[in-house]
Structures are given as structure tokens and as C-alpha cells.
């Protein structure tokens, strides 16, 4: 079954890659600067977080001397979170958005969430490379520890797409899910130490943060980029297990309900 699905996707690889490329092109089509915007947007974001927060507002990370440390801390967390929330946000509505296509054409539907992941990955890759460039220029490059980003990203994508497919399928049957996801993501963002360091939290909230699977992931990114530390792999155990569970559950739900989904759209 899984092999059949993989083969179907492989046969439609042209459609998947074409869709990713097209979505990318659509955004800057009819604009004068074209592809330059793909760089300008994320670049401005990095500058806002680093220069403005650390230089103008003089925000400092407790226990670190470097004036850029807080900016880097902020960027590491926000970039990773942005990738995560883009995948969740897009995949929860992906079946609804493509209702027309799903109802009228016969093609492997699993391509749709795949396109979402690939699109978000392209966006993330651009901003992430800019961020790395910025680190090199400001001599804050973390060294070999940066390689740890690869397993982190794999866990994160699995977690996001597993959850995303579950939400996407549920959203077809219960439209409340789409509304709810937006609210939950807001709370989730602020309950994850991204903008603030975990150390400033009162003890009462600690267990809540520890139960938050994203907190461990984000902390690992921040460790790499701010301190050049390899992640504490053990702390990533729960989120990895959860990611695998979501993926399995998502695929099961998708397979079981994809027929009914067409009727409901």
C-alpha cells in the first residue's frame, strides 16, 4: 500500500515539482524585481531581528556577552518556527483549497501535502542560507555543530506534516479545525521559548514547556546557533516518537477517509 502510494507519487513527480516551481513563480510574477523579492523579504526580516533588536533596543541574552546573541537566538527560533507553522497552516487547508482538482481529476491526492512541504522547504532554504551567510559575515558561525540541523529538520518536517495531514483531513469534515488551528498556533508560539529565553520563566510554567514537543526542537536550534553546541539528543526523544506517531496516524486517517473526502468536498 505504502509502496503503491510511493510509486504513484513518483509517477506524478513532474506534477509535484512543477507545482512547487509554479507556486514559487506565481508570487513574483508581474513584479518588476521578480526573483529579487525572494531574497529581499527574508533579508529584511533577519535585519529587523538582529540589527534592530540587538543594536537599537539593546536587548541582551542573559549570560551572553555578544551584542548579536539575542538577534541570533531570535532568528534561530523564528526561522524554525516559521517553517513549522507554514507546513501546518498550509496543509490543514490543502485539501479544501484544491477541492476542485480533487473532485474532478483522478490523481494521487497525497501529492498535495507533499507539494506543501516542498514549497515550505524552498522558502525555508532561502532564508536559512541567508541566515548562515549573515553568521559567516558577522563571525558568529557555529562550526561543525551546524550539521546537527539536518536531523533536526527531518524530525521537524515529519512532525509537521504528520500533524498537518491529520488536520487537513479533519478540516474537510469539520471546518472548525481550520479556525482552531490558527488560534492554537498563536498560543503555541508564545508558549515556546522563541522570543524569550526559557530561563526567565517562573517555575510554575516549566512543566508546560517541557511537555511542549516544539520547545525541545527550538531549544536545539538555539543551542547550535547561539552557543555552537550539539543538541542534547535525548531531549529530542519524545518529539521524534510523536512525529512518527503523527505520520502513521496521518497516513492511516488519510487512506481511510480519502474516498469519503471527495464526497464531502
Amino acid at each position: 500500500m505504502a509502496i503503491g502510494m510511493a510509486r504513484a507519487v513518483w509517477n506524478y513527480r513532474g506534477f509535484v515539482l512543477g507545482s512547487v516551481q509554479r507556486e514559487f513563480q506565481t508570487r513574483y510574477r508581474n513584479s518588476l524585481l521578480g526573483a529579487a523579492w525572494t531574497i529581499l523579504n527574508p533579508l529584511s526580516m533577519i535585519i529587523v531581528y538582529t540589527v534592530i533588536f540587538s543594536q537599537l533596543m539593546k536587548a541582551r541574552l542573559p549570560g551572553v556577552d555578544s551584542s548579536l546573541a539575542y538577534g541570533i537566538y531570535l532568528c534561530a527560533g523564528i526561522l524554525a518556527w516559521g517553517f513549522f507553522s507554514e507546513v501546518i497552516g498550509r496543509s490543514q487547508s490543502v485539501f479544501l483549497e484544491h477541492a476542485n482538482l480533487i473532485k474532478k481529476l483522478s490523481f494521487p491526492r497525497i501529492c498535495l501535502p507533499l507539494i506543501v512541504v516542498l514549497n515550505a522547504s524552498v522558502n525555508f532554504a532561502i532564508i536559512f542560507l541567508l541566515f548562515l551567510g549573515f553568521l559567516v559575515v558577522t563571525q558568529n558561525f557555529p562550526g561543525w555543530a551546524v550539521l546537527a540541523v539536518i536531523p533536526l529538520l527531518i524530525i521537524q518536517v515529519a512532525f509537521a506534516i504528520g500533524l498537518g495531514i491529520i488536520l487537513g483531513v479533519l478540516n474537510v469534515f469539520f471546518r472548525d479545525v481550520g479556525q482552531l488551528v490558527g488560534i492554537v498556533l498563536q498560543f503555541w508560539f508564545w508558549l515556546t521559548p522563541i522570543v524569550y529565553p526559557a530561563s526567565i520563566l517562573p517555575d510554575g510554567i516549566r512543566p508546560l514547556i517541557e511537555a511542549n514537543p516544539m520547545a525541545a526542537l527550538i531549544a536545539a536550534y538555539q543551542g547550535i546557533f547561539v552557543y555552537g553546541l550539539w543538541p542534547d539528543w535525548l531531549s529530542l526523544g519524545p518529539v521524534t516518537v510523536l512525529a512518527m506517531m503523527f505520520c502513521l496516524l496521518g497516513m492511516r486517517l488519510f487512506r481511510k477517509r480519502s474516498g469519503e473526502m471527495v464526497d464531502e468536498l
Binding site: 512543477g18 509554479r22 481529476l105 469534515f173
Partner: protein
Amino acid sequence: MDSIQVVQVGKAYKQYPTRWSRLAEWLIPFSAPRHQLKWVLQDVSFTVNPGEALGIIGINGAGKSTLLKMITGTTQPNAGQIHIQGRVAALLELGMGFHPDFSGRQNVFMAGQLLGLNMEDLQALMPDIEAFAEIGDYMDHPVRTYSSGMQMRLAFSVATARRPDVLIVDEALSVGDAYFQHKSFARIREFRKAGTTLLIVSHDRQAIQNLCDRAILLAQGRLALEGAPEEVMDFYSAMIAEKEQQTVRQERLDNGKVRTISGSGEAGFTDIALLNAQGQRVEVLEVGSQAVLEVTVDVKQAVPRLVLGFMIKDRMGQAIYGINTHRLDRALEDVSAGERIVYRFAFPANIGKGNYSIALSLSRFDSHLDTNYEWRDFALVFHMININKPDFVGCNALDADLSIERLRQAASV
């Protein structure tokens, strides 16, 4: 091996009493189902042989689209099975997946990939697609600048770029100008000759009878009739005319054709005869001779208005000529019960050789679809023979006059 095999297929949609019932059904383990199934198709079975063309007929909501969607694999049946041999292409939703901001060429790639073709295939097929669509420079302009006809042309060209084993055609095909319609039908015929199995949904008598070997009629989600296209089409026309209060019956004639008789019965045909120039009842007429169609009508219940119509059809069931007393401004008003009326239509039999049939209708207005007293297919069958005229082809005796002028002598060698 059958090309398409549909076995006792049924499709139902789930209906929940409230929005919360579905959630309850999903979340409460081992609970009884809370939904009701609304069946839109039930127990439909048929097979289509490779290279055969099957017409699917039915009023809106009869379940035609649902059936096609299940055959293309877009939706899954709730009961029964569908087996298909080979690659399926569907001309159901032309232009799906087109993006207005991209050029025709880019859209061809996208739409083609969505149909499961790969980049190399598309690159190779591109010249053909471009040539068939005939939209010239527009190929490299954004699709939003296209007229709907141009978009249709391009979409059709992509969808049929490669000959499928099974082609499913919806009425969508009637879009586009006459020239392109002609061209697209030619392509479909060409595919058929090469062995493609066809499935055609249409209300158009001509299209069904022209292209199909067989037809099925869907009514209220069930297979109502399966048979020769003409027979099914006749039944369908009668069914529309009937709505409910009247009955439709079909009789098999000696020549294997099926006669459909329907109507509410206030007035009916008592005698139908074709007379030659000498006034004799005949079944054979000579091309170009004078003929009279004599129809005797008995009125059983008083009717406010009575219109008699006749139509001559060729052996394919295509209309050759038809007229009625309404169009001739001779409709009878306030006809009382018990009256017997004899109608005589005299006409020159300027039609080509072959077999023809006459269909008759008694109605209140121009169309028998409104109030139908009696409607009878194959009321009479006759044969045209050509004795005195040159042996022409076709169904119209146009008696072409010929003159020849040889303007230049060939240079002698």
C-alpha cells in the same frame, strides 16, 4: 477481456442528522452508525468491449456524472466493482489545472503532468499539441488573455495529445466553434478506429447515434435500458414526454428494430398508409415519384387542440424531413370525442435509395414534449429504389444539372 467492466456498482452519500453526529460517530467506539445513506446510483452493471463506443443517456441528476467519476477513479463506489483495462483519458473538465497567469505552453506542461505524462513525453508531443490547437502566437501568452474557445482548444489538445485506451467524453465537447468541434470529433473517430474504447455522455441524439454502438439509459440512479442507440434514444425521448402519467411501451418489429409508443391516449392512430402516385398502398417508392402519407386518427376524448406531425428518418435514425400541422398553420381546434380525421401529406419523394422509417406524433402544441396524445416510432417503414435517375449517393435527390465547357485544347504532342 472487457475494456470496462462495471459490476453492480452503487454510490451513496452519507447524510448526518446534525453536524455533531459525524463527530460522535467517529469518536465513540463501537457506536451504531448515525448517518443515513442516500443512494444516487444503485446496482448498475454493464460491460464495454475494447474498441466499442457506449453512449450514456439520462436526465440531469440521473447519476451520469457520478458514474463517470467512478469510472475515471475520482470517486470510489460504495458497492460493486469497476475494472478498467488500459489508460483512461476523460474530457470531462477541460482546462482543469490551467493557471491564468501562465502562458499556454507552461499550462500545457502543468495540465499534461496532472494527466500523468512526464516532461519528455510532453516535450515530444508539444508540436502536435500546438498544431492541433491552432492558437498561433497565443501559445506563449498568458491564458487569461485567451477567449474561452481558445482555452477549450488548448485543453482538448492536451487531453487528447496521446491516444488513450479508454476515452470518456462529456457534453463539454459542444463548446468551441463549429470548425473545432468538427476537428475534435474527427480526432475522436480516429482514436476509435485505432482501437480506443469510447464512453460518451450526451443528450444529443445525433452525437449518440453517430458515434455509439450501444447505449444505456440511466433513470433515478438505476440502469433503465440497454440497447441500440436509436432504441434507447427513442425510449428516452418518450420518457421525457411522459413525465409520469403516461405509459411508454416498446415492441420489437420483424426487422429487429424496436418501436416505441407512448402518449396519454386522448387521440390515437387507427391507420397509417403510404400511397404512391397511383393511390396504391406501397412499401416501396421510386426516387422522385409523388407520394402521399395518409394517417387516420380517432379521437377518444375531446381535446382543445390537435397537431399531427410526421418525421422521415433514415436507417441510422437521423431525421431527413419532418413537419407538423401546427407549423403548416392547420392545427385543429376543439376536437370532440368520437371524431375520425384523415390527414393526407402529399410530397415528392426526393430522397435517396435505402430504408426509411416514419415517426408520427399527436400533440397539442408544436412539440410532443409538452402534451403528448400519442407518439409512435417506426409507424411505417418503407424502401426507396432508384430506377429512372442516375445512381447518386446520399439521401437528397437534388437532381444536379450538369454543364461542361472544355476551354482549352490540350497541346498536341
